[in-house]
């Protein structure tokens, strides 16, 4: 409830930014009143950055709600948690400035605010959620199912991707890493092996609860192993590319960073286990989904 409220409020502010952006676009297109490129860029990132954070927070809300069912330890809404998430709500509105470090016309003070807000907004969410989750599993008998494994791995993926994001939000680092493959590395991490895993974990949990069908342990292990192998391998090559200054969004690489093509080929090969994991997952969870649907249609 707490995280959903925070996410709802943050979504509202992102929506307002998007509306203002559209109004300016409309004024420029319909009446020819030019818009300030810097203001438009700020508003775009205000909207986009806040929205992707909200998506992640909703994933965290799933963890708070469902993971205790696998550990038997309730996740209490304690005071530090409330303070932490309220702080996140305020700080996330100013973290987006880290997307504009290369816009040298933005005053330095604003860039510094961006770095401080990025660091500060990451801390409460990370400390509360990751420490909370580790406390849930530490020395506990956890019921490891496909759902709980995916949710746990997703949270860890979020932590790793988030750490890479915070590194990139450091002004001196961003000066080197901006527009290198480090950027897709971090957002693929917290999405592909972060949020997506949490959502898949939630779906697996939901279908199992509704269908009541038993889980096939070997299939679940295969899905998790293939996904983590493919996912981590895939994003690692992005990180290596970023580390070696391979730029992103290039169709062909210049001689100086020609190794980018090799990383791309290797990454493509690692997508195969990912796709295989997804297909098995769809098959396995889809069957449960159909069973649940059939059970719901059966006259009681």
């Amino acid at each position: 409830m707490l995280v959903s409220t925070v996410s709802g409020i943050a979504s509202l502010t992102a929506l307002l930014a998007a509306v203002i952006l559209l109004v300016f676009l409309g004024l420029e297109r319909l009446l020819g009143i030019p818009a300030d490129p810097l203001l438009m860029k700020n508003l775009t990132f205000y909207f986009g950055h806040t929205l992707i954070n909200v998506a992640m927070y909703q994933g965290v809300a799933i963890i708070y709600e469902l993971f205790p069912r696998y550990t038997g330890l309730p996740w209490k809404t304690a005071k530090p948690m409330v303070i932490g998430w309220n702080a996140v709500m305020v700080l996330v509105m100013f973290a987006f400035f880290h997307h504009l470090y290369m816009d040298f016309v933005q005053p330095r003070a604003v860039q510094v605010i961006g770095q401080i807000a990025s660091y500060s907004s990451a801390l409460p969410a990370a400390v509360v959620t990751i420490l909370g989750l580790l406390a849930q599993v530490y020395h506990r008998k956890v019921r490891w199912t496909l759902a709980s494994v995916l949710m746990f791995a997703g949270t860890m993926g979020w932590a790793i991707g988030g750490t890479a994001a915070v590194i990139d939000s450091t002004i001196v680092v961003n000066f080197r890493f901006h527009n290198t493959q480090w950027v897709p590395a971090h957002f693929h991490t917290y999405l592909l092996i972060g949020l997506v895993l949490i959502v898949l974990g939630f779906t697996a949990h939901f279908t199992q609860e509704v269908s009541g069908e038993p889980e096939r342990s070997r299939i679940s292990k295969a899905i998790a192993t293939l996904w983590l192998l493919g996912g981590y391998g895939f994003v690692s090559l992005f990180y290596i590319g970023g580390w070696h200054s391979v730029p992103r969004r290039y169709a062909g690489y210049p001689r100086e960073v020609a190794e980018g093509s090799l990383y791309a080929r290797l990454a493509l090969m690692l997508v195969l286990p990912l796709i295989l994991a997804l297909l098995i997952y769809i098959w396995e969870v889809g069957k449960r989904w159909l069973a649940a649907y059939a059970a719901a249609r059966r006259p009681s």
């Binding site: 307002l16 297109r29 300030d36 100013f94």
Partner: protein
């Protein structure tokens, strides 16, 4: 009721379609006409050719003999321009302007070469040398005047977006005035126009030397909301009305949330 909703949806759809058509028509109309009236569409466009690898050209010069353009750009950055010696138009004023600008910023011969090539197949190395002498550029360090095989010059012109066409029975060519900044065979900057501003050329040379040259569109006075105002005299930025627009989603959200919380608290207090 369902019919009413369906009818309403249809009306909404029609209104949306009309609105979308109006936006497209209004938005594209002035732009298309502006494009049609604007003669600048024929000018070489830096955005389309930037960072391209330039084809090599074997040069014939009177002073350096036969050399390849690649020999020069492997040694240091090169400013290349395409002219023709019998030009009664822009070539001479352009070269004079370039000569002035290079004098002002210095470094020719030490930090970069200036290569003046003819695109006219009838020009010889001697014609180009005579042109250099007339313009008093023949003794300038780092300046090279020459000609190249027409097909190689044509390739260089095509790669850089330069064009020239013969004007019937006049012996003249129609062409733009253009300066290429080439580093290690790659086109780094393109200046188009008859006058070479020393300040702009200095930035080109800095960029050719691998230095970061920041650039940003100048504020348009018609923009009603700018994030920050900039004072060129002091180099300082100050908050403008656009900053308030940027802050407005946060402020509105905080005010809405504070309002909701106050109402809830009041409601709780009033409950028996």
């Amino acid at each position: 009721m369902a019919g009413c909703v369906r009818g309403g949806a249809k009306t909404l759809l029609v209104v949306f379609a009309l609105w979308a058509t109006a936006i497209t028509a209004l938005g594209q109309g002035p732009r298309e006409s502006a494009r049609a009236n604007d003669g600048s569409s024929n000018l070489p466009n830096e955005e389309q050719v930037i960072y391209r690898h330039m084809p090599d050209v074997s040069l014939k010069t009177t002073r350096q003999g036969s050399i390849f353009l690649s020999q020069l750009w492997c040694e240091k950055p090169v400013l290349v321009t395409l002219v023709f010696s019998r030009c009664a138009g822009v070539c001479s004023p352009f070269l004079r302007s370039l000569g002035e600008a290079t004098l002002r910023i210095g470094g020719a011969g030490e930090d970069y070469y200036v290569v003046v090539l003819s695109f006219d197949p009838e020009d010889t190395a001697e014609d180009m040398q005579a042109m250099a002498t007339t313009l008093q550029l023949h003794n300038r360090p780092g300046w090279i005047f020459g000609v190249g095989p027409p097909e190689e010059i044509q390739r260089l012109a095509r790669a850089s977006g330069f064009w020239f066409r013969s004007v019937n029975d006049t012996g003249q060519y129609d062409h733009p005035a253009m300066l290429m900044g080439i580093r290690q065979g790659r086109l780094v900057r393109l200046l188009v126009g008859a006058t070479v501003e020393p300040a702009l050329l200095r930035l080109v040379v800095h960029e050719l030397q691998g230095e970061m040259v920041p650039s940003y569109p100048l504020p348009d006075p018609r923009v009603p909301f700018r994030c920050f105002g900039y004072d060129p005299a002091t180099g300082r930025s100050r908050l403008d009305w656009g900053a308030l627009v940027l802050l407005s989603p946060s402020l509105l959200t905080v005010m809405t949330v504070a309002g909701v919380f106050t109402m809830v608290r009041r409601d709780r207090k009033e409950r028996p």
